[in-house]
Protein backbone atom coordinates (compact mmCIF):
# COMPACT_ATOMS: atom_id res chain seq x y z
CA UNK A 1 0.00 0.00 0.00
CA UNK A 2 1.41 3.38 -1.01
CA UNK A 3 1.37 5.83 1.87
CA UNK A 4 1.71 9.37 0.52
CA UNK A 5 1.98 10.92 3.99
CA UNK A 6 5.08 8.85 4.78
CA UNK A 7 6.82 10.10 1.65
CA UNK A 8 5.67 13.68 2.27
CA UNK A 9 7.08 13.77 5.80
CA UNK A 10 10.22 11.88 4.78
CA UNK A 11 10.83 14.39 1.96
CA UNK A 12 10.27 17.27 4.40
CA UNK A 13 12.74 15.75 6.84
CA UNK A 14 15.44 15.09 4.25
CA UNK A 15 14.99 18.53 2.61
CA UNK A 16 15.30 20.19 6.02
CA UNK A 17 18.45 18.19 6.75
CA UNK A 18 20.02 19.15 3.42
CA UNK A 19 19.18 22.80 4.03
CA UNK A 20 20.88 22.66 7.45
CA UNK A 21 24.07 21.49 5.74
CA UNK A 22 24.00 23.71 2.64
CA UNK A 23 22.54 27.04 3.84
CA UNK A 24 25.23 29.69 4.24
CA UNK A 25 23.41 31.71 6.88
CA UNK A 26 23.49 30.05 10.36
CA UNK A 27 20.01 31.39 11.24
CA UNK A 28 18.57 29.82 8.08
CA UNK A 29 20.28 26.55 9.06
CA UNK A 30 18.69 26.65 12.52
CA UNK A 31 15.24 27.26 11.02
CA UNK A 32 15.75 24.41 8.53
CA UNK A 33 16.49 22.13 11.48
CA UNK A 34 12.98 22.85 12.75
CA UNK A 35 11.53 21.93 9.34
CA UNK A 36 13.46 18.67 9.46
CA UNK A 37 12.22 17.85 12.96
CA UNK A 38 8.60 18.64 12.07
CA UNK A 39 8.91 16.06 9.28
CA UNK A 40 10.44 13.61 11.75
CA UNK A 41 7.59 14.22 14.22
CA UNK A 42 5.15 13.41 11.40
CA UNK A 43 6.92 10.08 10.85
CA UNK A 44 6.72 9.36 14.60
CA UNK A 45 2.97 9.99 14.57
CA UNK A 46 2.70 7.66 11.58
CA UNK A 47 4.39 5.00 13.71
CA UNK A 48 1.72 5.40 16.46
CA UNK A 49 4.28 7.12 18.72
CA UNK A 50 2.19 10.21 19.37
CA UNK A 51 3.86 11.21 22.61
CA UNK A 52 7.38 11.00 21.21
CA UNK A 53 6.28 13.00 18.15
CA UNK A 54 4.89 15.81 20.26
CA UNK A 55 7.99 15.70 22.48
CA UNK A 56 10.20 16.07 19.41
CA UNK A 57 8.37 19.24 18.32
CA UNK A 58 8.15 20.72 21.83
CA UNK A 59 11.71 20.07 22.90
CA UNK A 60 13.56 20.57 19.62
CA UNK A 61 11.48 23.23 17.84
CA UNK A 62 10.38 24.93 21.04
CA UNK A 63 13.50 24.90 23.14
CA UNK A 64 16.67 23.74 21.43
CA UNK A 65 16.20 25.75 18.23
CA UNK A 66 15.46 28.89 20.27
CA UNK A 67 18.70 28.30 22.17
CA UNK A 68 20.65 27.93 18.91
CA UNK A 69 19.14 31.07 17.37
CA UNK A 70 19.75 33.01 20.59
CA UNK A 71 23.42 32.05 20.58
CA UNK A 72 23.79 32.83 16.86
CA UNK A 73 22.24 36.27 17.40
CA UNK A 74 24.37 36.82 20.52
CA UNK A 75 27.56 36.19 18.58
CA UNK A 76 26.20 38.24 15.70
CA UNK A 77 27.30 35.64 13.16
CA UNK A 78 26.61 36.83 9.67
CA UNK A 79 27.01 35.00 6.41
CA UNK A 80 30.75 35.15 6.09
CA UNK A 81 33.21 34.79 3.25
CA UNK A 82 35.35 32.62 5.54
CA UNK A 83 32.79 29.84 5.30
CA UNK A 84 33.54 28.88 1.71
CA UNK A 85 33.51 25.21 0.71
CA UNK A 86 36.90 23.57 0.60
CA UNK A 87 37.23 20.99 -2.18
CA UNK A 88 38.76 18.22 -0.05
CA UNK A 89 36.27 18.40 2.80
CA UNK A 90 33.35 18.73 0.37
CA UNK A 91 34.50 15.63 -1.53
CA UNK A 92 35.03 13.66 1.70
CA UNK A 93 31.76 14.93 3.11
CA UNK A 94 29.85 13.66 0.09
CA UNK A 95 31.82 10.44 -0.52
CA UNK A 96 31.80 8.99 3.03
CA UNK A 97 28.04 9.37 3.66
CA UNK A 98 27.36 8.14 0.11
CA UNK A 99 29.35 4.94 0.79
CA UNK A 100 27.44 4.49 4.04
CA UNK A 101 24.13 5.00 2.28
CA UNK A 102 24.96 2.63 -0.60
CA UNK A 103 25.96 -0.04 1.89
CA UNK A 104 22.72 0.45 3.82
CA UNK A 105 20.64 0.30 0.64
CA UNK A 106 22.51 -2.86 -0.38
CA UNK A 107 21.76 -4.54 2.95
CA UNK A 108 18.10 -3.53 2.87
CA UNK A 109 17.74 -4.69 -0.74
CA UNK A 110 18.79 -8.22 0.24
CA UNK A 111 15.90 -8.49 2.70
CA UNK A 112 13.35 -10.62 0.85
CA UNK A 113 10.24 -9.57 2.67
CA UNK A 114 10.70 -6.53 4.82
CA UNK A 115 8.52 -6.90 7.91
CA UNK A 116 5.15 -5.21 7.84
CA UNK A 117 3.93 -3.46 10.96
CA UNK A 118 1.83 -5.80 13.10
CA UNK A 119 -1.72 -4.69 13.82
CA UNK A 120 -2.19 -3.36 17.33
CA UNK A 121 -3.91 -6.19 19.20
CA UNK A 122 -6.19 -4.62 21.76
CA UNK A 123 -7.80 -7.96 22.67
CA UNK A 124 -4.40 -9.56 23.20
CA UNK A 125 -3.27 -6.65 25.40
CA UNK A 126 -6.41 -6.93 27.54
CA UNK A 127 -5.73 -10.64 28.14
CA UNK A 128 -2.00 -10.18 28.83
CA UNK A 129 -0.82 -11.54 32.16
CA UNK A 130 2.47 -11.21 34.02
CA UNK A 131 4.52 -14.07 35.51
CA UNK A 132 2.23 -14.37 38.55
CA UNK A 133 -0.87 -14.69 36.39
CA UNK A 134 -2.12 -11.19 37.27
CA UNK A 135 -3.49 -8.98 34.49
CA UNK A 136 -0.84 -6.56 33.23
CA UNK A 137 -3.41 -3.80 32.63
CA UNK A 138 -5.64 -4.07 35.70
CA UNK A 139 -9.37 -3.47 35.87
CA UNK A 140 -10.39 0.12 36.50
CA UNK A 141 -7.26 1.74 35.08
CA UNK A 142 -7.36 4.41 32.36
CA UNK A 143 -5.13 2.23 30.17
CA UNK A 144 -7.61 -0.63 30.31
CA UNK A 145 -10.61 1.62 29.62
CA UNK A 146 -8.93 3.06 26.53
CA UNK A 147 -7.80 -0.35 25.29
CA UNK A 148 -11.39 -1.61 25.66
CA UNK A 149 -12.53 1.40 23.62
CA UNK A 150 -10.05 0.37 20.90
CA UNK A 151 -7.72 3.35 21.36
CA UNK A 152 -3.99 3.27 22.03
CA UNK A 153 -3.23 5.05 25.35
CA UNK A 154 0.29 5.89 24.21
CA UNK A 155 1.15 8.48 26.87
CA UNK A 156 -0.28 6.40 29.73
CA UNK A 157 1.70 3.36 28.63
CA UNK A 158 4.91 5.39 28.43
CA UNK A 159 4.21 6.83 31.89
CA UNK A 160 3.59 3.35 33.32
CA UNK A 161 6.85 2.10 31.82
CA UNK A 162 8.79 5.15 32.97
CA UNK A 163 7.69 5.01 36.60
CA UNK A 164 7.94 1.23 37.00
CA UNK A 165 10.64 -0.38 34.84
CA UNK A 166 12.67 2.78 34.26
CA UNK A 167 12.38 4.45 37.65
CA UNK A 168 16.09 4.43 38.46
CA UNK A 169 17.25 5.76 35.05
CA UNK A 170 14.68 8.55 35.47
CA UNK A 171 16.30 9.61 38.76
CA UNK A 172 19.74 9.41 37.17
CA UNK A 173 18.63 11.59 34.24
CA UNK A 174 17.31 14.17 36.74
CA UNK A 175 20.77 14.33 38.33
CA UNK A 176 22.31 14.62 34.85
CA UNK A 177 20.13 17.63 34.04
CA UNK A 178 21.10 19.26 37.34
CA UNK A 179 24.79 18.70 36.60
CA UNK A 180 24.33 20.16 33.10
CA UNK A 181 22.63 23.25 34.56
CA UNK A 182 25.43 23.76 37.09
CA UNK A 183 27.99 23.28 34.29
CA UNK A 184 26.31 25.92 32.11
CA UNK A 185 26.27 28.44 34.94
CA UNK A 186 29.92 27.76 35.74
CA UNK A 187 30.95 28.09 32.09
CA UNK A 188 29.05 31.30 31.45
CA UNK A 189 30.21 33.11 34.61
CA UNK A 190 32.91 35.63 33.94
CA UNK A 191 36.12 34.91 35.81
CA UNK A 192 36.97 37.06 38.85
CA UNK A 193 40.02 38.51 37.07
CA UNK A 194 37.87 39.64 34.13
CA UNK A 195 35.41 41.32 36.49
CA UNK A 196 38.23 43.18 38.26
CA UNK A 197 39.60 44.27 34.87
CA UNK A 198 36.16 45.55 33.80
CA UNK A 199 35.76 47.47 37.07
CA UNK A 200 39.23 49.00 36.72
CA UNK A 201 38.40 49.97 33.14
CA UNK A 202 35.18 51.67 34.22
CA UNK A 203 37.04 53.51 36.95
CA UNK A 204 39.73 54.84 34.58
CA UNK A 205 37.09 55.98 32.07
CA UNK A 206 35.15 57.82 34.78
CA UNK A 207 38.41 59.39 36.06
CA UNK A 208 39.18 60.59 32.53
CA UNK A 209 35.73 62.14 32.25
CA UNK A 210 36.05 64.00 35.59
CA UNK A 211 39.45 65.34 34.49
CA UNK A 212 37.90 66.48 31.20
CA UNK A 213 35.08 68.24 33.06
CA UNK A 214 37.60 69.97 35.31
Amino acid sequence: MISPLFYLFAALMVAGGLMVVFMRNPVASALSMVLSFVGLAGLFVGLNAYFVGILQVLVYAGAIMVLFIFIIMLMDLQKSDKDHWRGTSLAAGIAIPAILLIQLAGVLATVENSPKAPEIGFEQALKATDTEGELVYKEGTVIREKLEAGRLPDTHLIGKKLFTDYNFPLQVIAVLLLVATVGCVTLSKKSAAARVAVKANVRTISDDETQKDA
Binding site: M1, F6, M13, V14, G17, V20, V21, P26, S29, A30, M33, F37, L40, L43, F44, L47, A49, L55, Q56, V59, Y60, A63, I64, F68, I71, I72, M75, L77, K82, D83, S89, A92, G93, I94, I96, P97, L100, L101, L104, V111, S114, P115, A117, P118, G121, E123, Q124, A125, A128, L152, L157, I158, K161, D165, L176, L177, A180, G183, C184, L187
Partner: protein, 105 residues
Protein backbone atom coordinates in the same frame (compact mmCIF):
# COMPACT_ATOMS: atom_id res chain seq x y z
CA UNK B 1 1.91 1.52 6.35
CA UNK B 2 5.45 1.42 4.93
CA UNK B 3 7.67 -1.56 5.68
CA UNK B 4 10.54 -1.51 8.19
CA UNK B 5 13.16 -1.22 5.43
CA UNK B 6 11.77 2.10 4.26
CA UNK B 7 11.93 3.57 7.73
CA UNK B 8 15.47 2.28 8.23
CA UNK B 9 16.57 3.69 4.88
CA UNK B 10 15.10 7.14 5.57
CA UNK B 11 16.74 7.11 9.00
CA UNK B 12 20.08 6.17 7.40
CA UNK B 13 19.62 8.98 4.90
CA UNK B 14 19.12 11.53 7.68
CA UNK B 15 22.14 10.13 9.53
CA UNK B 16 24.25 10.45 6.36
CA UNK B 17 23.15 14.07 5.88
CA UNK B 18 24.18 14.82 9.47
CA UNK B 19 27.54 13.10 8.95
CA UNK B 20 28.09 15.05 5.71
CA UNK B 21 27.40 18.28 7.58
CA UNK B 22 29.89 17.44 10.32
CA UNK B 23 32.57 16.78 7.69
CA UNK B 24 31.82 19.65 5.30
CA UNK B 25 30.94 22.63 7.48
CA UNK B 26 33.46 24.57 9.54
CA UNK B 27 31.10 26.70 11.60
CA UNK B 28 31.09 24.90 14.94
CA UNK B 29 27.44 25.78 15.69
CA UNK B 30 26.28 24.17 12.44
CA UNK B 31 28.42 21.10 13.17
CA UNK B 32 26.54 20.91 16.45
CA UNK B 33 23.16 21.08 14.66
CA UNK B 34 24.26 18.24 12.38
CA UNK B 35 25.05 16.18 15.49
CA UNK B 36 21.44 16.75 16.54
CA UNK B 37 20.29 15.46 13.13
CA UNK B 38 22.30 12.27 13.67
CA UNK B 39 20.72 11.77 17.12
CA UNK B 40 17.27 12.30 15.60
CA UNK B 41 18.02 9.65 12.96
CA UNK B 42 18.90 7.18 15.71
CA UNK B 43 15.61 8.04 17.44
CA UNK B 44 13.68 7.28 14.24
CA UNK B 45 15.31 3.85 14.03
CA UNK B 46 14.38 3.12 17.64
CA UNK B 47 10.75 4.18 17.19
CA UNK B 48 10.47 2.13 14.00
CA UNK B 49 11.78 -1.01 15.73
CA UNK B 50 9.50 -0.32 18.68
CA UNK B 51 6.43 -0.24 16.40
CA UNK B 52 7.41 -3.33 14.40
CA UNK B 53 7.94 -5.51 17.48
CA UNK B 54 4.78 -6.54 19.23
CA UNK B 55 4.64 -7.16 22.98
CA UNK B 56 1.23 -8.39 24.15
CA UNK B 57 -0.24 -6.90 20.96
CA UNK B 58 1.06 -3.41 21.74
CA UNK B 59 4.26 -1.71 20.45
CA UNK B 60 7.39 -2.43 22.47
CA UNK B 61 7.68 0.66 24.63
CA UNK B 62 11.31 0.01 25.63
CA UNK B 63 12.41 1.61 22.36
CA UNK B 64 10.35 4.71 22.98
CA UNK B 65 11.75 4.98 26.51
CA UNK B 66 15.22 5.07 25.02
CA UNK B 67 14.11 7.86 22.65
CA UNK B 68 12.77 9.76 25.68
CA UNK B 69 16.19 9.51 27.32
CA UNK B 70 17.98 10.43 24.08
CA UNK B 71 15.95 13.63 23.81
CA UNK B 72 16.69 14.50 27.46
CA UNK B 73 20.41 13.88 27.12
CA UNK B 74 20.49 15.80 23.81
CA UNK B 75 18.86 18.81 25.46
CA UNK B 76 21.43 18.78 28.28
CA UNK B 77 24.23 18.30 25.76
CA UNK B 78 23.07 21.28 23.67
CA UNK B 79 22.96 23.51 26.74
CA UNK B 80 26.48 22.57 27.85
CA UNK B 81 27.87 22.55 24.30
CA UNK B 82 26.56 26.01 23.50
CA UNK B 83 27.96 27.32 26.79
CA UNK B 84 31.36 25.91 25.80
CA UNK B 85 31.06 27.47 22.32
CA UNK B 86 30.26 30.86 23.86
CA UNK B 87 33.32 30.66 26.13
CA UNK B 88 35.41 29.64 23.14
CA UNK B 89 34.09 32.59 21.16
CA UNK B 90 34.91 34.95 24.02
CA UNK B 91 38.46 33.64 24.19
CA UNK B 92 39.24 33.36 20.46
CA UNK B 93 36.69 35.59 18.66
CA UNK B 94 35.95 32.88 16.08
CA UNK B 95 33.58 29.94 15.55
CA UNK B 96 35.42 28.41 12.59
CA UNK B 97 37.10 25.11 13.36
CA UNK B 98 40.06 25.69 11.04
CA UNK B 99 40.97 28.87 12.93
CA UNK B 100 41.02 27.13 16.31
CA UNK B 101 44.58 25.89 15.87
CA UNK B 102 46.03 26.51 19.32
CA UNK B 103 47.15 22.91 19.83
CA UNK B 104 48.26 22.38 16.23
CA UNK B 105 51.94 21.46 15.83
Amino acid sequence: MPSLSEYLFISGLLFSIGLAGVIIRRNIIIIFMCLELMLAAASLTLVAFSRFKSVDGLPDYDGQMLVFFIITVAAAEVAVGLAIIVSLYRARQTVYTDELTTLKG
